[in-house]
Amino acid sequence: MIRTPRWRREEPLDHAELARLLPAPGDPELSSDRLNGLEEHLMTEIRNLTSDTASDTSPGASTGAPPIGAHAGDRAPGRPIASAVVRSWSALPPPWSWPPPGSPESR
């Protein structure tokens, strides 16, 4: 086994040298459109998950329709989230409570 000499193990790490030892990885970036699409997808999924939690804990609440285009295992064509879906959500009381009751930040 080739051992790294002790003087090299204690050598300070030079980031410039480290960066040169590998090819530059480029600077890939998500377009703003794509970023927005992924953001809205995430927020929709969070709303779905909190809705599931609310329906589990509240026997009287309706379970709500499954999200648009939901096909397990398929890459269903994405459609813009209807603003009506967002508005209907805002009418429901949030299952989470923020700030927590009694906290200094209670609005």
């Binding site: 998500l30 997808h41 998950l49």
Partner: protein
């Protein structure tokens, strides 16, 4: 704005950041939107550079934030930013993308499809250039062991400090430094070998016997004409 609870120290900047940590733990959707806007590009770049695949990297972004939602209760009140915690989740997703994808299969199926073709030619050229760079970087990164690769990518390419990388990987800071040091040693050795191989001309050639330059040059006299 201060959050009461098990905080250490009383610095104002820590108070503001712990509020964000607490909001994430509490499942505040606005906090998650903020988390996404602040860090999605970082996660994407890290995923692309590590995996070398633009399309897979987008899935990693979605899976990372879905996992962050699932694991939000585990975010501790440490550090000024949830970035190390989030990057730790990204690293775990990259280690086993299949498992994360199965866990969030339905959500992943609902991700809006990307445009297959870019709208503009320069974007296409940019994608091709990125693809070449990424392939080369990924191939080179592949020469390191996984532990060294992760530390290298986090510290050198994604800009995390040693303490942040340690938090992301859940290892002591000294381990981060030693892994980087080993990565450096391995890369130096590979670079030295490559330079020696090119320098002494012992590079293995193609099939023997073929004269370079084509039939015309081969047919001419061997008399030296230029010096």
């Amino acid at each position: 704005m201060r959050v009461t609870g098990t905080l250490q120290g009383g610095r104002t900047s820590q108070g503001v950041s712990y509020s964000m940590h607490a909001r994430i733990r509490a499942g505040d959707p606005d906090a998650f939107r903020e988390l996404f806007r602040d860090h999605a590009q970082l996660v994407f770049r890290h995923a692309v550079r590590t995996a070398g695949d633009l399309s897979a990297a987008e899935d990693v972004v979605s899976l990372t934030f879905l996992e962050a939602w699932r694991l939000r209760g585990k975010l501790r009140d440490e550090g000024e930013s949830p970035r190390p915690w989030l990057m730790g989740i990204a690293v775990n997703v990259l280690r086993n993308t299949g498992r994360a994808a199965r866990r969030h299969e339905r959500a992943l199926a609902r991700v809006p499809l990307r445009d297959v073709l870019p709208d503009f030619a320069d974007e296409l050229v940019g994608r091709i250039a990125d693809s070449g760079e990424l392939t080369a970087a990924k191939r080179a990164l592949g020469k390191l062991r996984r532990a060294e690769r992760e530390v290298f990518a986090l510290c050198m390419w994604s800009g995390l400090g040693y303490a942040e990388a340690a938090e992301a990987l859940d290892v002591p800071v000294g381990i981060v430094r030693s892994r980087l040091s080993r990565a450096r040693a391995r890369l130096r050795k590979l670079t030295d070998s490559e330079l020696r191989r090119r320098g002494d001309g012992t590079e293995p050639g193609g099939s023997g016997g073929q004269v370079q330059g084509g039939r015309t040059a081969a047919a001419r006299s061997n008399e030296e004409r230029t010096r």
